[in-house]
Symmetry: C2
Subunit: 328 residues, 2 copies
Amino acid sequence: MGRSRVTVTDVAHLAQVSRQTVSNALNRPEIVKPDTLARVRAAVAELGYRPMPAARLLRSGQSRTIAFALSTNPNGIADRFLHALTSAAQDRDHRVLLFAAGSDNEDIRQYEQLLTGSVVDAFVLADTHRDDRRTAWLASQGARFAAFGRPWGDGTETHAWVDVDGAAGTRAAVEHLAALGHTRIGFVGWPAGSGAGDDRGAGWAEAVAAIGSAPDGLSRQVLDSPGAGFTAAQELLAAGATALVCASDNLALGAWSHARTVGAAVVGFDDTPVAAAVGLSSIAQPLREAADAVVAAVLDGDADSPHRVLLRPALVERASSTPAGTDL
Amino acid sequence: MGRSRVTVTDVAHLAQVSRQTVSNALNRPEIVKPDTLARVRAAVAELGYRPMPAARLLRSGQSRTIAFALSTNPNGIADRFLHALTSAAQDRDHRVLLFAAGSDNEDIRQYEQLLTGSVVDAFVLADTHRDDRRTAWLASQGARFAAFGRPWGDGTETHAWVDVDGAAGTRAAVEHLAALGHTRIGFVGWPAGSGAGDDRGAGWAEAVAAIGSAPDGLSRQVLDSPGAGFTAAQELLAAGATALVCASDNLALGAWSHARTVGAAVVGFDDTPVAAAVGLSSIAQPLREAADAVVAAVLDGDADSPHRVLLRPALVERASSTPAGTDL
């Protein structure tokens, strides 16, 4: 992929200032020291940098609008995050501009339209994943943005993000089940390679090791469906597990429909309405706190010290927290 | 409440033309007949009418943005409608601008800000209710809007709307249960006074009358919670019902947790993920079709012949469709 245009980052690098200083020099020159301003203007001239009109408006905060890509599949956690984001933005007198999410490349085309045609102050992304092209593109444009979700990359990303500590959640689930007397605690997770799924699996592995349990053979990696959760639960309980931690409520729903018939315990993840309806214990993400932090990251953060916030989830205990030794 | 400003409606009334013609005279005078144009301009001068800048932009369709108030409480049907609306708008190259819904008056303050400060092409409303002040306010401003939900008023409203025929849904539920052999079919609904709730109740009452069943004593009006559904189901089954139609999946979830223990049947309303998870039959609203129709109403409709679309829901059959005479 070739570099199609000179960016704020290029100007900042040449002028040896921050991207925020470049932005200030372009939009609010009165607040920039004269010698710095001269250096930035020389770099702009040397590189032939032309700010896009909308990119200039971006920094002025006039539109009071934050763009967000809505996942096309209704999904409990994403929808609840959107509610939280809308309220958090409104508390800061901003609104949320929605478009339907597609592939990374389709999302980038939408961003491009928003930057050139319409006016938004900032972008919020969710569903971050390995090799996420969206964050790199927004950074290259000097756009103000923050992600709900870690970069899951090689650590070189410099953007702002807010996430929930999934490993802390599955550790809390294991400790909760251990306190109920369980010593053989299995895990039903997703196929390796998803950042969030691997993180949740790592939390389970650490916690069962810490309580001296041997996790060999007590984990499964399956696609995210109740049916797959049901089958994995049959296998893991047959292999000696008496309690299961699941990477999602979707998996936990299937696991619990088998586990409840033999008195085994199940803890899910995301505290969905379905979990509440069927009595599933689950790990709840603090979505309003996350949304407040994301909005603060885009409105208050600057490129030189981007906000990075990792929040702790909380266990919600329900009927599926069966004590060890329970038989129906 | 005093009238604070002269509106398009006042100008239209004085000039004896439609509001659309007033709008055309203001924004696209080249398409208005000269004598009509003169009459509108005379009325504008006489009344001292001043169009708001954003209201002028509204008609120009430049922002390609539709504003929508998101209910602050996550709610299965509203969230799924928003997904459908975002996709339907995107298919017409528009985006959705979200703000957090409040009271009618708070929403109107938001509309006012959007009309004066920011730029949107149109408004879509949901959660319409009796004495809805929002639709009257938007009409008084000459704003382009459509409601997902009927006016539930006295029939004098002139705006565009799209709705799903709730009575047809509960009628279909009764006919489905009758086909399974049930003759004493009860109803668990909401307290009287909500448009959608009364409509669903009316569909049940008509359908049980049509099959010759005596509905006396077989309906309850309760608040929308699983606990209330459970209690209502106990009472109605004790009173002789063998099957229940519920105004929501929330009520049906509670009703089914009792009914399943005695072999009775339950049909819910809205086909939520919870209904799918616990095997509840339910009435599904065609949300994508509704969203397409709402977007067409705001983008293609005009004030003289506003779109009014009533769609039919469909029954989704699951395990809770127990045949009559089933005992556990």
